[in-house]
């Protein structure tokens, strides 16, 4: 008998800032909804292990969307997008998640995101604390910092560059089969997306002077960062955790940039206590 995964893929139409997008998402499980957002220049493949983890899907409805322009979520039909520089903005990214929650009729879902998605965890918790019961920021930091983005989308630089970056954003103890899968997936997305997504990461996300405004009693904030991550270091995230009163930080040993993909069992060992805590908190009257 063939092995068939319980994961289901669907399309939902979202109107975001006046434009209709056909958005692909996968889901699995039942219970508290948890939206898992992929990283910049990535897609939902990053979360495939979590979608198939019965320990998690027995308590959570795991939902993995692909942002517009990523994976199976095509650019919109109503825009001449080929005449525009693809650029992910903070307002679009936030509106995307607000519209997704409404369209799927989610009751204060948990939001978990990695890197670009991890930064969004913080922006959502800050600006919409009543729309999400908790956020989990993987590799989140206060700000992205200065960077040159041009090499991420240049006619002389192929997707192999992103592949290589992804490979070396895995900790050296990453199982080779996972490291190679991470690199393969890093090449999947359309060429403009990495540069465009990093616009939000480097240019728009900045919590300087805002960390005292978080209300973690309304939306819990969890931060997970791998000790090998060179982009958002453990120290960067610890600094952020100290600044956000009530937030909880966990250093993930032996992981780097995208723990859920590079070493799923190790990532799960850090994620499970957080999810258990959210379940416990959700059961309280």
């Amino acid at each position: 008998m063939a092995v068939i995964e319980p994961v289901v893929g669907k399309y939902v139409y979202l109107n975001i800032q006046g434009v209709e997008y056909r958005v692909f998402y996968e889901e699995s499980g039942a219970g508290i909804p948890i939206i898992c957002q992929h990283a910049g220049g990535g897609d939902g493949l990053e979360w495939r292990t979590l979608l198939n983890d019965a320990d998690i899907t027995s308590k959570y409805r795991v939902i993995v969307p692909n942002l517009p322009y990523h994976g199976k979520s095509l650019p919109p039909e109503s825009l001449e997008w080929w005449k525009l520089e693809y650029r992910l903005t903070k307002s679009f990214f936030m509106d995307f998640h607000l519209e997704l929650s409404i369209a799927l009729d989610l009751d204060r879902p948990v939001y978990m995101g990695c890197y670009v998605g991890g930064f969004m965890a913080l922006d959502l918790a800050l600006e919409y604390p009543d729309k999400f019961r908790a956020v989990i920021g993987v590799g989140a930091a206060q700000r992205g910092g200065p960077a040159t983005l041009d090499t991420f989308y240049h006619p002389s630089v192929t997707n192999n560059y992103r592949r290589v970056n992804a490979m070396y954003f895995c900790a050296p103890m990453t199982p080779e089969v996972h490291r190679r899968e991470v690199t393969w997936c890093a090449m999947q997305c359309a060429a403009p997306t990495t540069k465009g997504d990093l616009y939000y990461y480097f240019k728009e996300h900045d919590l300087t002077g805002k960390t005292h405004l978080f209300d973690t009693s309304r939306c819990a904030v969890y931060l997970l960062t791998g000790d090998y991550d060179p982009t958002s270091s453990v120290e960067d995230t610890m600094e952020l955790a100290k600044a956000i009163k009530g937030s909880k930080f966990t250093e993930m040993k032996g992981l780097s940039h995208a723990g859920m993909h590079e070493n799923p069992p190790v990532f799960k060992s850090y994620l499970t206590p957080i999810l258990d805590e959210i379940v416990k908190h959700s059961e309280q009257p």
Binding site: T151, H154, S156, V157, T158, N160, Y161, R163, V164, N165, M167, Y168, F169, A171, P172, M173, D227, Y228, P230, T231, S233, S256
Partner: protein, 130 residues
């Protein structure tokens, strides 16, 4: 710890291993560049011609031209070459972000051929610990 890839006595065997590595052969296809790997004050010029390494020169290479260079201190390269490198020394790109390595010259060419370069450096690590 001596850095083996700049040892002239090992150059020939390094070139043989690199040019026969299946992944390197795919990654380096079409690459014709001169790459400078600088270990402290020592330059190692690696010549790529149509995807094949034709020369590694670390003696009297101070005036040799190159297309792009990856520079690091002796300490940085020793950490990079460990079987399990410490954080921020395990990859060149991450090491650059953290200031442990520097990329100079024609960086677009460097990124165009980053797979070949990083596979070469991984083989340097494998041979260092053999």
């Amino acid at each position: 710890m001596a850095v083996h890839f700049i040892n002239p006595d090992k150059t020939s065997s390094f070139i043989n291993v690199l040019n026969s590595d299946p992944e390197f052969k795919i990654a380096a296809r079409y690459m014709t560049k001169d790459v400078c790997i600088e270990v402290g004050k020592i330059k190692c010029i690696v010549k790529f011609r149509d995807g094949v390494i034709t020369q590694m020169k670390s003696e009297n290479a101070f005036a040799d031209p190159w297309d792009f260079a990856i520079r690091g201190s002796v300490d940085a390269w020793e950490k990079f070459l460990q079987p399990i490198p410490p954080r921020f020394y395990d990859g060149i790109f991450g090491g650059m972000i953290r200031g442990n390595f520097v990329l100079e010259g024609d960086t677009v060419s460097a990124f165009s051929h980053f797979w070949a370069v990083t596979r070469m450096l991984d083989i340097f690590r494998e041979l260092q610990n053999k």
